[in-house]
Symmetry: C2
Subunit: 383 residues, 2 copies
């Protein structure tokens, strides 16, 4: 416990801002750059905890909004907290619910006090204050809690962005004041939409408050990729060297590689699991969409250079048959492959930082996974 919250930088890249670090959390040490598979409702879709351990996931992301609505944090707390409830003893980060209230609930009225919204399950009206989000996350007992924030859409006016940014700042102060679990880190989330001066101002203010870690929020919501990367770069320039940096909701393998080079340490994204469920695989030769008829009698594995459970045993033709037949084994096997691809990518990035070859990996990922508009939307809609 004495090391709790310590972020030790082990290696830095000479040619970029990338670094390999170790973040000490209540349930273990996480080596960064790290990808966190998404367990929104307390499970990574199609995967068991044994699967995630086999794949080498070291931290996963769960969601305060979803778990508050079902089954409720009180029940989870009574059963010993989220780790015990899920059967997962490695670190967990919980998102605060700010983004989900913004993207999933039907009614949404934001005031300085908090957000009034309707549950996307049953339409029940709810009110969530920053303090409520912290109380939920403390009841869940995650290793890292996130500040409750006011998220704006893209595009939004400068005035909207400024108002929401200021509100998120006040809420961050309230979260910090209310937060009391000393085995849980509380990370701040920076805002300011696409307006560089707002982002700069907000980031400086949050850094002054001295959080143990910082997320770059409000990005990957539909803005152009290059704008996003400019703002990420601006942010990592200001954020302290010695604290972990988390780019929320990003992204493709190329996005992650580029952001790592800009000094980002933590990532989460629905793409590997979501695209896995619809039959699209990330592979060493680019994306493979099993719905394509040309794979109907393809006897080769998803990825010729992969030795995961799926690629060792099954052909594209068979996987395609599973999808065509509506068999859940298809989504499971491609999800497995995709998570393996992402987790091995993070290993590769960490090794490349250590060996000074990061630029090559970034270029390779950008070549294999060029930007596609539908992907950004996918990423946006599904968080």
């Amino acid at each position: 416990m004495s090391n709790l919250g310590v972020f030790r930088i082990m290696v830095t890249d000479k040619n970029s801002k990338a670094r390999v670090g170790q973040l000490h959390l209540a349930h273990g040490v996480v080596t960064t750059p790290v990808f966190m598979p998404i367990a929104t409702q307390g499970t990574v879709k199609m995967m068991t905890c044994d699967d995630l351990e086999t794949l080498g996931a070291t931290i996963i992301l769960a969601n305060a909004y979803h778990l508050h609505l079902r089954p409720g944090e009180k029940l989870i707390e009574r059963l010993g907290g989220l780790h015990k409830f899920m059967g997962w003893q490695r670190p967990i980060l919980t998102d605060s619910g700010g983004f989900q209230v913004f993207s999933l609930s039907t009614l949404r009225e934001v005031s300085d006090e908090g957000v009034r919204f309707r549950s996307h399950h049953d339409g029940t009206e709810k009110f969530l204050r920053p303090e409520d989000s912290i109380q939920i996350q403390e009841a869940l007992g995650s290793d890292i809690a996130m500040c409750f924030d006011d998220v704006v859409p893209y595009p939004c006016t400068y005035e909207q962005a400024k108002l929401s940014m200021k509100r998120s700042l006040v809420w961050a102060e309230r979260c910090m004041r209310f937060h009391s679990r000393d085995d849980q880190l509380l990370f701040a989330i920076t805002h300011g939409s696409v307006y560089a001066d707002l982002r700069k101002e907000n980031t400086i203010q949050l850094v002054d408050m001295d959080f143990p870690g910082y997320a770059i929020g409000g990005l990957s919501v539909g803005e152009p990729k290059e704008v996003m990367f400019e703002l990420v770069e601006l942010s990592t320039e200001i954020l302290p060297e010695g604290k972990p940096r988390y780019l929320m909701g990003v992204g493709t393998p190329a996005d992650i590689a580029r952001a790592v080079a800009l000094g980002v340490d933590m990532f989460d994204c629905v793409l590997p699991t979501r695209l896995g469920r619809t039959g699209t695989a990330f592979t060493s030769v680019g994306k493979v969409n099993l719905r394509h008829a040309k794979y109907a009698d393809d006897p080769s594995p998803l990825d010729p250079n992969c030795d995961c459970l799926t690629c060792r045993r099954y052909t594209k033709a068979y996987l395609r048959h599973l999808f065509k037949s509506g068999e859940a084994t298809g989504p499971r096997l491609v999800t497995w492959h995709n998570l393996n691809f992402y987790l091995r990518l993070m290993e590769k990035l960490r090794e490349a930082i250590a060996s000074g070859t990061l630029r090559g990996v970034v270029r390779e990922m950008m070549r294999l996974f060029p930007d596609e508009v539908e992907e950004q939307n996918e990423s946006f809609l599904a968080r």
Copy 2:
């Protein structure tokens, strides 16, 4: 290959007709009594081949009707046969499609020549002769093929039953004549609905034809349990000692235990997988339906006496949450548990035969899993 089709009886029970046997097939030796998980469309629902190996499945059942319609046996043959297609190198039994044409297709016109029906996928009209079914099963390359039969509903008149039985007999002769793969066994299927004299006559006729194995067909389609067991007993009295006996589509753990005592060697049933997907578990303390509200905060495993992957790690409360949240991990984990329960039951039955304690296991299963009408229907509808 020299042993192919040999069925060696290793142990017989002094107090019943039960026996432990070893059936030599092209892809390995299967110890009986055996339960065959159902891989209708070329996959056991929610399970990978690795899963099935871990669970200890030694033979699985696939379906000629389904695989003929999608992806087609020609494609599977081109890709090296069903074993290679699925990535499963242990034995496979294929059902002939007779039952599925009867239960799934919309139009169904039976003549002496074969069956005209509409695909349940797209309504395409198809015609299937006994020879076509054998050709499909030979293309698939299963270890055991089944004769194509004419299945009647329950109830049906004596005349209907007689007509269909005679037709199935002629078809069995045609199947036997047409069948040519010498690495594949062809099993006969006995018929006669609930009419003892028809069953007796039919069984004697098929035994005369000297098939390497016999299925008891046309049962578990809605008739009373006691009628079914009387007919099973009548059948195993006539069927030769030295050939494997397969009771198609049966059943609950109690049904299986009782049928084993009557000298049946092979079983398949949708119950463990189908009920697993809807949240009902077979356990050492009876059935557990996770939809029940009382499990919402139950911190105990599905089965206190089970050490399967599911029971070692997860609580009823968590599993219920997964079902309530529509997460596929729920169906997967309960399917895993149920298949484990069935496969361990078969081990227990084999051990009980060897140790002369079979009666106790039968009684225990009958106590834990008393007959429920909806279960028979479930079993009937889902095959």
